[in-house]
């Protein structure tokens, strides 16, 4: 019986379905509740923070030598800035924590907070990219001239010649609105002080418990062993929970200072205003094409509004540097010039969000392809056929190596599924009826499971990449897999159990995957960058191979056969070609309770450890959206959404499809609905879910998914990551589809979200009287 490849229902689910899952807020019973006082203005000087004597406050003044958060890149084009744990002299964005109060209940803490008076001399903030870059603009950080925190460049020698000799140059400016990841569970933390040991156990809604331990210990100047970080059930993260935040430092500090349990549960306004944002970008993109529509060169100027501070550990370089390195995507781009800047502003800091830059750069590149196709009189498929790479391994112009994929095959398959030519006929007929249909294609390659080489190339001082796994079988034959990675809804415990089960020859239900507890698991980097299945999965497979060999050795001795003649399957070890067999649980019992018989495993017992640190592997997909645009209302309806994806070997196809469904929904949200809006004074106008429009079941269509499976040797399991692809590909498909629908009016879309108001405005500007 093989478990890999089966749509096994998840082991995670029953407890969640019964309402017995323990999320951070569920652990706060009996805790004292901490409430933050936050800046009501975007920029200014703090004049006073006052409270009546009976309201004790935590302010920067009482924190003493608690260290600020100062994420670093080892590059001369990066300016490190330090984020204070609590603002002391200046405030730099609406929502920045200034002080905290603690009550016995949440209501009491809110009552106390109301008694605190904060006086700030407000100053004119810089909110937008244009304001931040204007000559003479005030500086968010004195060290960062022109508000530029990172200014990275890349240029090949032949760029100017390519543009000079090009038959066609296509260029435009593309903008992406600011988005929030909006996990349904906000951030939160419960810090429990143990008077017996002096240690603190911090339960927090995080994607990276070990990194939190490091970051908090460094900020407080304590040994990491003083702190245990637990990620209980985590209600979604999408990147927003993969950074150290000042709030967690304060909660641990308070638990130690007061020698009690202290909890902070973020409310939704705090989450929307003071948790991380993403995707606030403007690109100027130029593409040089030859007479046949082959790309000769790309020239990109990428501006990212990264907010007031840099995030730890990814830094504010995460979006600009990803754009710089991965802009060419699945295409052959011989010559390339790019400048990518991270610009500080008096807005909430940005952090990685599912897809990181690639939803934006993919949308821009795919718009470029469609614009070039229109210029050359080619169809959307043909222009891509002439430019997609099909020689693997493919080394991009920036030196990124793509392992084998199916870039062109995925597109052709998707075109067949939607019957591209038949659609064109239907589109013509509909136009005659005054109905405006459009088809949009998006082809992309997603770097997944990047190991330390990828992050070292970005010159991160803290270089994520490896994952370690510890396997241990107990005397009853039950296996525990302790992983450093930290899943939060992806079903990783099930998929890893499937992988290990096949490698060892036992059932997945005999395997418990332990994650999210720094006392119980080896140091790891957490779950992000579509990495956990690739890297932790690879480590699981390697460790499981070793453990199987140890079981074979013990079983061989029990059955008086050579270890190499032992096979294990369905929980039994047997001598190949015979009916001599012993149950794995009997093997385990013997290994522990008669250990003197098995000197070969004397040192290790029935345990194995492995570390895996791959270069990374590219998954790929083609998305096709078919939309109808109502030119009277500007409403976009997605009639059909097709994904042909290639994630290599699927471990659990049901889980893979779930990742794509959810990713596409967030991509559609990016394309059509969600936008964080600030006014000129830097006040957040989208501070509730009534204003920040997360789409519902009425807006999100069903997604048709088809799988290709390119064999790759870039990961030991043959699996490629799939967590972010849906989010990366969907915006481009939707924007190309809307542009295709509105092509008769001469309207093309170069911004997202493309809201009904904007569509009507663009139609009006194009002279369309609907």
């Amino acid at each position: 019986m093989r478990w890999v490849g089966r749509p096994l229902p998840r082991y995670e689910d029953p407890v969640l379905l019964r309402g017995r899952g323990r999320y951070t807020a569920d652990l706060a019973k009996g805790a004292r509740i901490l409430r933050f006082l936050r800046s009501p203005v975007a920029r200014g000087r703090i004049l006073a923070v006052n409270a009546p004597p009976e309201v004790p406050m935590i302010t920067a003044a009482v924190l003493g030598d608690v260290q600020p958060i100062c994420p670093r890149l080892d590059r001369p084009d990066y300016v490190p800035v330090a984020q204070p744990i609590l603002a002391q002299e200046r405030v730099t964005y609406v929502g920045e924590p200034i002080a905290a109060v603690i009550g016995d209940t949440a209501a009491e803490a809110e009552d106390l907070a109301e008694q605190v008076a904060i006086e700030i001399a407000a100053e004119t903030p810089v909110v937008t990219l244009d304001q931040a870059l204007a000559p003479g603009a005030s500086l968010v950080h004195d060290l960062a001239a022109q508000n530029t925190l990172i200014d990275a460049r890349f240029e090949t020698a032949g760029i100017a010649a390519s543009f000079a000799t090009a038959h066609h140059v296509v260029e435009f400016t593309f903008t992406s609105g600011r988005q929030s990841a909006v996990p349904l569970e906000t951030r939160g933390a419960v810090a429990a002080f143990d008077p017996a040991t002096g240690r603190v156990t911090l339960s927090a809604s995080t994607q990276m418990p070990h990194l939190l331990r490091t970051g908090i210990a460094d900020a407080l100047g304590i040994a990491e062993s003083e702190l245990r970080v637990v990620a209980p059930e985590v209600g979604g993260g999408f990147g927003q929970k993969m950074a150290l935040i000042p709030e967690y430092v304060i909660v641990v500090w308070a638990a130690r200072r007061l020698a009690c349990t202290v909890a902070w549960i973020e409310d939704r306004l705090e989450n929307l205003s003071a948790s991380f944002h993403a995707r606030d970008q403007r690109l100027q993109l130029r593409g040089a094409f030859d007479a046949e529509g082959r790309l000769l060169a790309i020239d990109a100027d990428v501006l990212c509004n990264v907010g007031a501070y840099s995030n730890f550990p990814a830094t504010c370089g995460v979006e600009p540097l990803m754009a710089l390195a991965d802009m060419p995507g699945p295409y052959r781009v011989p010559e390339y010039r790019a400048r990518a800047r991270g610009i500080a502003s008096n807005t909430c800091p940005m952090a990685p969000y599912r897809g990181v830059s690639r939803p934006v750069i993919t949308a821009a590149m795919e718009r470029l392809m469609d614009c070039a196709a229109a210029r050359l009189g080619l169809d959307a498929l043909e222009i891509r056929r002439r430019n997609l790479t099909s020689d693997f391994p493919h080394t991009s112009v920036t030196g990124v190596v793509h392992d084998p994929g199916s870039y062109r095959e995925a597109m052709e398959a998707a075109a067949r599924v939607v019957d591209f030519l038949q659609f064109r006929a239907r589109q013509q007929a509909a136009r005659a009826d005054g109905r405006w249909l459009g088809l949009g294609i998006s082809v992309f390659a997603e770097r997944t499971g990047p190991g330390t080489p990828a992050f070292a190339a970005r010159r991160m001082v803290m270089t994520p990449g490896f994952e370690r796994v510890e396997l241990a079988m107990d005397p009853s034959g039950f296996l525990e897999a302790r992983i450093g990675s930290s899943p939060h809804g992806q079903g990783l415990k099930t998929t890893l159990a499937q992988l290990i089960a096949d490698e060892i020859g036992i059932a997945p239900k005999q395997i418990r995957v332990v994650a999210g507890d720094t006392d119980r698991t080896p140091y790891g980097w957490g779950t992000f960058a579509s990495r956990s299945l690739v890297i932790a999965g690879g480590a699981c497979k390697l460790a499981a191979t070793t453990l199987r060999e140890r079981l074979q050795s013990v079983a061989g001795q029990i059955l008086e056969a050579a270890a190499s003649d032992i096979e294990i399957g369905n929980g039994r070890a047997f001598v190949r070609g015979t009916d001599l067999a012993v149950e794995v649980r009997q093997v385990a019992r013997a290994a522990y309770h008669q250990s003197h018989r098995f000197p070969a495993i004397a040192e290790t017992g029935l345990a194995a450890v492995a570390t895996y640190d791959p270069y990374g592997t590219f998954s790929n997909a083609c998305h096709i959206a078919i939309v109808a645009v109502d030119i009277a209302t500007g409403q976009v309806t997605i009639e059909r959404f097709v994904v042909v994806e290639d994630a290599g070997q699927l471990i659990n196809p049901m889980i893979v499809e779930g990742q794509i469904h959810g990713g596409v929904a967030q991509g559609i949200a990016n394309a059509l609905y969600e936008k964080v809006v600030y006014d000129d004074a830097g006040n957040l106008l989208t501070g509730s879910l009534a204003d920040y429009l997360v789409p519902t079941m009425s807006e999100i269509p069903s997604v048709e998914i088809h799988h290709l499976a390119t064999l790759t040797e870039a990961s030991v399991t043959g699996a490629k990551g799939v967590g972010e692809g849906g989010t990366i590909g969907a915006p481009a498909a939707v924007l190309n589809a809307v542009s295709d629908a509105l092509a008769p009016f001469g309207v093309g879309i170069f911004e997202m979200p493309i809201t009904p108001q904007r569509i009507l405005q663009l139609l009006r500007e194009a002279g369309c009287k609907a």
Binding site: P7, D13, G19, R20, Q490, T696
Partner: protein, 158 residues
């Protein structure tokens, strides 16, 4: 504000007497006074629906209702769905059809779906889609939630 009031209601069939401030939301009362943390709070302003429970069989946002308003009411939460070891058909269908990922919105969706199917076991897909649009999910893209509820509806009609 702090004068506490007695409230008596039933939760999942058990009578509960609690003493709460008038400003205590039903969600907080369920979570903190009754110890039933399966009801989750996602926004506390009535949009996300994670806190949906049934009050006298009607779905309500328990973050928008005061506990004192539930005096004498019959409240049902996710913890009351399964019959011992036997999952409710909706729970079973969500499990089978991957109708949840992080699980945070799941109790709210389950209770919303219970109320929809109790009212109309034969509800057509477009109406079901519209009704389920009351709640937000960030992980699943809704597709498998819809599939799960349709599957459970078919099962419950048997």
């Amino acid at each position: 504000m702090s004068d506490k009031q007695d409230v008596t209601f039933t939760v999942n069939g058990d009578e509960r007497k609690i003493r709460v401030e008038p400003r205590r939301s039903l969600a907080d009362a369920l979570r903190e006074d009754c110890g039933l943390t399966g009801t989750h709070l996602g926004c506390e302003h009535g949009i996300c629906g994670a806190c949906t429970v049934l009050v006298d069989d009607q779905p309500v946002r328990s973050c928008l209702m005061f506990a004192v308003q539930a005096e004498g009411a019959r409240v049902r939460t996710v913890e009351g769905l399964a019959a011992g070891d036997k999952l409710h058909p909706l729970q079973q269908a969500f499990w089978q059809h991957h109708g949840l990922q992080c699980g945070f919105c799941t109790p709210g969706f389950l209770m919303l779906a219970v109320s929809i199917l109790e009212r109309d076991p034969n509800i057509a897909e477009p109406e079901l889609r519209e009704a389920l649009s009351s709640n937000l999910c960030r992980c699943t893209g809704y597709q498998n939630i819809l599939k799960s509820v349709l599957a459970a509806a078919a099962e419950m009609r048997k």
